[in-house]
Each structure stands twice: as C-alpha cells, then as structure tokens.
Subunit: 185 residues, 2 copies
DNA sequence: CCATAGTGGAACAGAGGTGTTCCACTATGG
DNA sequence: CCATAGTGGAACACCTCTGTTCCACTATGG
C-alpha cells in the first residue's frame, strides 16, 4: 500500500481528485470521463481501480480522510464553543468539491464506515455537549441536528456562490452568521 | 392536452408520481424501474412520454406546479412575517418526496423555467422585503440567502428523519425553530 | 545503452438501458 | 353484443458503459 512508487502515488491521487471533481458536477459520469479529466487513459484507471466499485470504495475512504484532517485542524476542544464550530465550518467550506460531491453522489456514503460514527462525529458530539453545559448552544438542538444543520448550511453557502454568483467569502460569512444564530441558546 | 380521458389522466399522474418517488430514492433508476413502480408496463410509459427527455420535461413542470400551489396555500402576504415563513416551510415540508427528488436529481432543474424567477420566488422576495421593513428579518439576510437557507433546512429536516429515525413532526419542529432563529433580526 | 516501470490506444465481448414494433388481452360505453 | 380505448409483454436493433487483453510507446535509473 505505502510502498508505492512516487509516480504511482501521484497518478493515484490525480485519479481520485479527478473523480471527486467530475462526479461533483455530473453524478452520472462514466469512467472514461473521469479518466480523461485526470489526464489519464481509461486503461490506466483500471490498473489502479479494477472496477467501479473499487474506485467508489477508495473514493469513500479518500473523502473520509479529507474530512477527518479538516476536523482535526479545527481543534474543537479549544476555545469557546461558537468559535470552535465556526473554525470547523471554515475548514469544511475549504473542502469545496468534496462537499458538493458528497451531496451529489449519495452512493459513496453507503459504506459501513459511514453508518457508525467517525472520529469527526465524536468530536462534534463532544463539542455540542460542551455547548449545552456552558449554555452556549440551544438545549433543543441535539448533536445530530446540529450536524445536519451545519452541513445543510454549508451546502446552502456553496449553492449560493454557484447559482447567485456570490463571492465565496461573502457566502461563508452568511453561512457562519446564520448557523451561529440558528443554534445559539 | 386537457381533453384527455379520465383513465389516461390517471395513468399519466401515476407515472409522474412514481417517477418522483423512484428517482428520489435512486437517481439512476431506469425507465423500467419507474414503470413497474407505477404499476405500469414499460410500453405504456413510452405511450405517454416518448423518450426520457420528455419525461424529464414533464417532471420538471409537475414539480414546479406542486411548489407553486404549496406557495399559494401559504398566503405569504397575510399575517406576521415569521409566521408566514413558517407556513411556507410547513407546506414545502409536506411535499416530501418532491423535495428530496429535486436535490437528488439536479438535471430536472436544468430547464430554462428554473433560471428565471418563478411566482413563488417573487412571493418569497416580497415577504423578505416586508420582513426587512418591519425589522423582523435580519437585514444581512438577502432574499436569495433566505431562500437558500430555507431549502437547506428543509433538506436537513428530511435527512434527519431518514438517517436518524426522528419522527417527522419533531424534525419539522426543529427545522422551523432553527430557521426562525437563523434569519431573525 | 537497456531493462523495466508506467502508460495510452485499439479492439473485443458482455451487460444493461433505450426506443420501437407487433400482437393479444381486458374493460367499458353505445 | 361489439367496437374501441387502453394496456402488457415479447422481441428486436441500437447504443453506451464496462472490464479485459494485447501491443507499442516513453522515460528513467543502473
């Protein structure tokens, strides 16, 4: 796994990134579309991922990893709860294509690793509980609901930039403001 | 168009409803899937909609109509702004499959009638402006952003019932509460 | 220089969806 | 009763995507 050549690692990464980008725009894209988006022959794609299901599996793992590292970077355990949640949103907002890809292609989130809570889920759970303790989060808002609302708001922000040609920073600003108010005590 | 037999009108409606239901769950469903979900032969489906693009077109129109009637029922011009928005959310929430279908199948929203603002869009625009006038809506929240957030919250609520087995009334209650707070002044 | 890793393209068979035609069946109003 | 509207299913050719095989090409380190 990790004893791959530099070249192979780079190609592998290029294919995964291209898959995210292509599928985020066109859910029904063919493997040929993905390959050419990655600047790679379809044959080469099959050398790295034998069939579509394997690509999907790797893609799922790839997305999870990106989310995990983004969550870690937000250091949710530190500072006031509202600010921590804001940092998390900013990190997730940066993921961009990854996010829209998740919404556009629900099949990828069908694996067993998406059913059970990830470390990210746990970190957010703890954060919300902390917010309940120090009265900074609406007691009616359960951790699961906060999570749903956060992703929905991020989706809204990206959609806002796409459809209404709003600059990213402005969309993010609106997103953070609305989310903060929505779940405030 | 309107001089259809009762039988044909019923079958046509059954196919459209089945298409919404099927495609909301499985974006890549085949025409055969849709036909059998409607309790109809694939041949019959082709009698009503020559090819897939015609079905998509009719589906787009169907969805728009459902949204329009829901908007009308919310009588946005009457009563306090927050309550009016709440009524709108409740009406949209009732659409259920229609909503999730829209998010699951962006292709349907690609037609020209989705680019330019619909009567529903206009009604919501006026409502938000009224909310700005009487200080009941956050002045930073533009009509377009309010719209994005509303749909995102509705999506979150439906997702919340699907994934977390939360009763619909509870999800709707959370949705209304969070939306109200998010865009309040 | 050359052995090897990495790649692209052509070609193939298989699977599944699509659109069409044709025929047999059922129900319903005149 | 029977003519007609409405339907379902089988069969068909067509298309696209898929997964695979095979061969020729390029680059790079020893």
């Amino acid at each position: 796994m990790s004893d791959e050549t530099m070249v192979r690692a780079r190609t592998r990464r290029a294919i995964l990134d291209a898959a995210v980008l292509t599928l985020s725009q066109n859910h029904g894209a063919s493997l040929g579309d993905i390959a050419s988006c990655a600047g790679v022959g379809r044959t080469t794609l099959h050398r790295y991922f034998a069939d579509r299901s394997e690509l999907t599996k790797a893609l799922s793992k790839h997305v999870l990893e990106r989310i995990e590292t983004a969550t870690v970077r937000a250091v949710l355990a530190e500072g006031p709860v509202p600010q921590a949640l804001e940092r998390l949103c900013q990190e997730y907002f940066e993921l961009g294509d990854i996010m829209m890809f998740m919404f556009a292609d629900p099949d990828v989130m069908g694996g067993p690793e998406w059913k059970e809570p990830t470390p990210s889920d746990h970190a957010l759970l703890k954060l919300v509980e902390r917010g309940h303790s120090d009265k900074s989060i609406d007691p009616e808002a359960t951790p699961l609901w906060v999570q749903q609302v956060m992703w929905a708001m991020l989706f809204a922000a990206w959609q806002h930039t796409r459809e209404n040609n709003v600059p990213k920073h402005q969309a993010l600003s609106l997103c953070l403001r609305s989310l903060r108010k929505a779940i405030a005590a």
